[in-house]
């Protein structure tokens, strides 16, 4: 690691610690790096401008945020939440289970963890903290943890990027995410059950059985959303990025025509809010791009990859090692950066050691999603902090047990490839 890069990291962390926005801190760090190493200062702007202007895939981010905000404003997520409350709300830790279950269903509608956390997460945090049922920190931590399931269950933006750099089949990758996503939901629910019993959280009244058909009927058009999206992608009607626009228009159709719960004034507000939140996420991604460039220039990932291939490892040892690297990288880098920079370097080693590429892809996804909630650089923590105002410190204090069970789930998926691969095999995957 060069002196310039060390200074760059120092600048980024110092600026961020002093309270400057994360994106601005990264840009300043990059400028410091370029200045010290005698490179063209304009490279910072160039990487940022070209990165945003050339990545079509990024367009899914604002569209998924619009979709999520319309779903919230148009009582669509309310109906989904009511449905989930009716199903699991009366159990111990009920609203926590509702949080996880709604995330699971929402995962089938949206491809980004950030949209999950910013969209439905905001509503469920409001429900969980009302009348002091759960502490804001706990509600935010559980929301962040369950939002990591979003890109594991299809559709998924990070998986598309992974398929792009690894040549793995996007169809098999998507299907392979189904069981791991459900598994992650299960371990989170188990932990939530345990924590709620320990903290003695009040149990909600059971929804009467005769109300159930009506609630299901009201939520039915919403529950159709994952079906439409999957058909769109699998039927070859839309690209995964376009699926985001379909999600937004279907949500708009539901809110404006079917449920009639959104006014023009409300719609303008939705677009104003979505514009501001998607741009602040966009700014972080664009700043990560210049950072990405510097990390690549420093040759850091390739040094790590070199080291890995020199040792003769079994597939399991390799994956465990990779897990460790991802978890460390995930603490400081954003998921897209890791996929674009690190994954291509590990693919050759993967082939040589006989590691299945789809299994490797899912392990990568789960790792990086866990990385989204690991402090200090956990984008989901920032997003929830941004949308709800719950201080980062409170969230971090509560996130550790959730991190623990997710890592445990990851280790189980790593050790038993069949758990990940049996569904794609049913669909004819030869691996």
């Amino acid at each position: 690691m060069s002196v310039e890069f060390t200074v760059c990291l120092l600048v980024v962390f110092t600026m961020a610690a002093l309270g400057a926005p994360v994106a601005i801190s990264m840009i300043i760090g990059a400028i410091a790096y370029l200045g010290l190493s005698g490179q063209d200062i304009a490279l910072a702007g160039e990487q940022i401008i070209q990165g945003v202007y050339n990545s079509f895939i990024l367009l899914a981010v604002p569209l998924f945020i619009v979709a999520a905000n319309i779903m919230n404003a148009g009582s669509i997520s309310d109906r989904l939440l009511q449905f989930c409350v009716a199903l699991v709300g009366h159990l111990r830790g009920g609203l926590g289970h509702v949080n996880v279950l709604s995330s699971l269903i929402f995962s089938g509608m949206s491809g980004s963890a950030v949209a999950d956390a910013a969209g439905i997460g905001k509503v469920i945090i409001g429900m969980m903290t009302k009348d002091g049922r759960y502490t804001p920190g706990y509600a935010a931590a559980l929301t962040a943890a369950s939002a990591t399931i979003g890109p594991i269950i299809p559709p998924s933006i990070p998986m598309v990027i992974f398929a792009l750099v690894s040549d793995a089949s996007i169809g098999y990758l998507f299907i392979a995410g189904l069981v791991p996503g459900l598994f992650m939901g299960l371990v989170l629910m188990l932990l939530n059950r345990y924590q709620s019993a320990r903290l003695n959280v009040a149990v909600e009244p059971r929804t009467p059985l005769r109300a159930l058909p009506m609630i299901t009927w009201r939520a039915f058009p919403t529950l159709m959303m994952p079906v439409i999206l999957l058909y769109g992608i699998y039927g070859g009607v839309t690209t995964p990025t376009e699926a985001a626009a379909v999600a937004a228009s279907y949500a708009l159709f539901l809110a404006a025509v079917v449920y009639r719960t959104i006014s023009i004034r409300e719609l303008i507000r939705v677009f104003r809010e979505s514009a501001i939140s998607s741009a602040s996420v966009g700014l972080v991604i664009s700043a990560a791009l210049i950072f990405n460039y510097i990390v690549a220039t420093e040759g850091l990932p390739s040094q790590i990859a070199d080291l890995l291939t020199r040792w003769n490892l079994t597939p399991l040892e390799f994956l465990l090692m990779v897990n460790l690297i991802y978890l460390i990288l995930g603490c400081v880098l954003d998921a897209t950066t890791v996929i674009l920079v690190v994954v291509p370097l590990l693919i050759p080693a993967c082939r040589e050691l006989g590691v299945d590429i789809v299994h490797f892809g899912i392990i990568t996804m789960v790792n990086l999603m866990i990385g989204l909630i690991t402090p200090p650089y956990g984008i989901l923590l920032f997003v929830i902090n941004g949308t709800t105002g719950i201080p980062i410190a409170q969230i971090i204090r509560q996130i550790l047990p959730f991190l623990g069970v997710l890592v445990l789930a990851l280790l189980i998926m790593t050790a038993f490839p069949d758990l990940v691969l049996f569904v794609p095999r049913l669909f004819g995957y030869p691996g």
Binding site: L18, A20, P21, V22, Y53, L59, S249, F271, A279, L283
Partner: protein, 165 residues
């Protein structure tokens, strides 16, 4: 004065909302034309990307408040007001110096693109990229104001009162 600022802010917000709505509609046009009319349009993708670039930096320049940005404020929130002021002053100075330092070379880079036009819509690219230049100017101006406010905390109290009102 306050009224004028409010009007400007709300106009900037509406422009951002309009850009996002335009992106959304363009996407729909693309899907409909490609799959229903079997017609592949080139301009839709380019328009979306241009709008996205402008949206990100337009909002970051003129709409987003400090609290809208993604921040890592653990340490900042744990210290008292006096130390927060010192933090604010150092951070503002860092941002101002860093962005000023990069301003001219970046402007040079953007200006260089006046010889190139975008592939489908034929817009000169220095117009497309100019928003990043505005972004730098806006950020430096904002942080100069923040620096001023941190040095004269009386102003900050007045502003907080206004923002809370």
């Amino acid at each position: 004065m306050t009224k004028l600022v409010k009007l400007l802010k709300s106009t900037a917000d509406n422009i951002a909302a309009a850009m996002l709505a335009a992106m959304f509609l363009t996407f729909l046009v693309q899907i409909i034309s490609r799959y229903l009319l079997d017609l592949s349009l080139g301009w839709t993708v380019e328009l979306c990307l241009t709008l996205w670039l402008w949206l990100v930096f337009w909002v970051s320049s003129f709409c987003a408040r400090e609290s809208d940005h993604i921040r890592f404020d653990m340490l900042y929130l744990s210290v008292n007001k006096k130390v927060q002021r010192v933090f604010g002053i150092i951070a503002a100075l860092g941002v101002i110096v860093g962005f000023m330092y990069s301003f001219l070379p970046t402007l040079d880079y953007i200006w260089f693109y006046k010889i190139k036009k975008s592939p489908v819509m034929r817009i000169p690219l220095h117009y497309v990229f100019s928003i990043y230049g505005f972004f730098i100017i806006a950020i430096v101006t904002r942080y100069c104001w923040r620096l001023w406010v941190h040095i004269h905390p009386g102003l900050n109290d007045a502003r907080e009162k206004r923002e809370n009102a």
